[in-house]
Amino acid sequence: MMGLDPNIVDLIRDILSWALFIIGGAAVVVGALGIVRFPDFYSRLHGAGVTDTAGAELMVFAMMLQAPNWLVFAKLVFIAIFLGLTSPVATHAIAHAAWMTGFRPMEGPDLRYDGDKR
């Protein structure tokens, strides 16, 4: 690697991947907190979105840095792409199912369901 000490390269790789693992893990926890703390069904989906995108993808990126060879790296790239293509479809399927059955979200800063008494 162009005269770089392999130990230093490994150290940099470990530091970067640990940072990504920790941020990704924090994103999963924050997403879970959002699911619990947000007020209604539709806003809870946004909490799940943090877990789906930042949480999952950052951990896959961290694993890419630890890949022992290019084959494993390429597989992880494909996992990242397929996760990115499928998780929004699942979220949309849930949101659309709720919408089609007539479930309406809370709206506005005072978090009222449509039809609640003012």
Partner: protein, 159 residues
């Protein structure tokens, strides 16, 4: 016919990549058989059209992905702040966004992009507009989301 060749090439590349076997004739023959079977199934199911093999979005889609990753990063931070705030100040709302992409693949890319950026979820996809649920007034940025749709429309035009 061209689409079948593209699908066979893509499936072969994926099989070789995921298996990692390049010198075992029996396994390679099984791989060739499974590629042929999957292609036959796709042909029989009638999904070998512009929706099933969306060649038109390449290579523009890669640049779009990079841009989208940056957007996802930014909105993730906003939503994470709301999740951690002592008293979250939310003002959820439903709103319509125009749907600039014309092909069904473009519409799906746009709808999924809206869902992927935390803070906005695609609730209903219609012909000319998309019904979106936003977490706060700031995240329900119609002009910004419409600009995203125009980026998608630009990718599909480059065919």
């Amino acid at each position: 016919m061209g689409r079948i060749l593209v699908l066979v090439a893509a499936l072969t590349a994926l099989w070789l990549l995921l298996s990692g076997y390049y010198d075992k004739p029996l396994l390679l023959a099984f791989g060739a058989g499974s590629v042929a079977f999957a292609t036959w199934l796709a042909h029989r199911a009638g999904v070998l059209d512009a929706d099933g093999i969306p060649g038109g979005v390449f290579p523009g889609i890669f640049g779009y992905w990079l841009w989208l990753i940056a957007e996802i990063g930014k909105t993730n931070i906003i939503v994470a702040r709301h999740a951690l705030a002592v008293e979250p100040k939310l003002s959820p709302k439903l709103f319509f966004v125009p749907n600039p992409p014309r092909s069904s693949v473009g519409k799906v890319i746009f709808g999924n992009s809206i869902t992927m950026t935390p803070g906005t979820v695609t609730v209903d996809l219609r012909e000319d507009e998309i019904l979106v649920h936003g977490l706060t007034e700031d995240l329900a940025d119609v002009a910004g989301i419409k600009a995203m749709g125009e980026r998608v429309a630009k990718i599909e035009r480059r065919r």
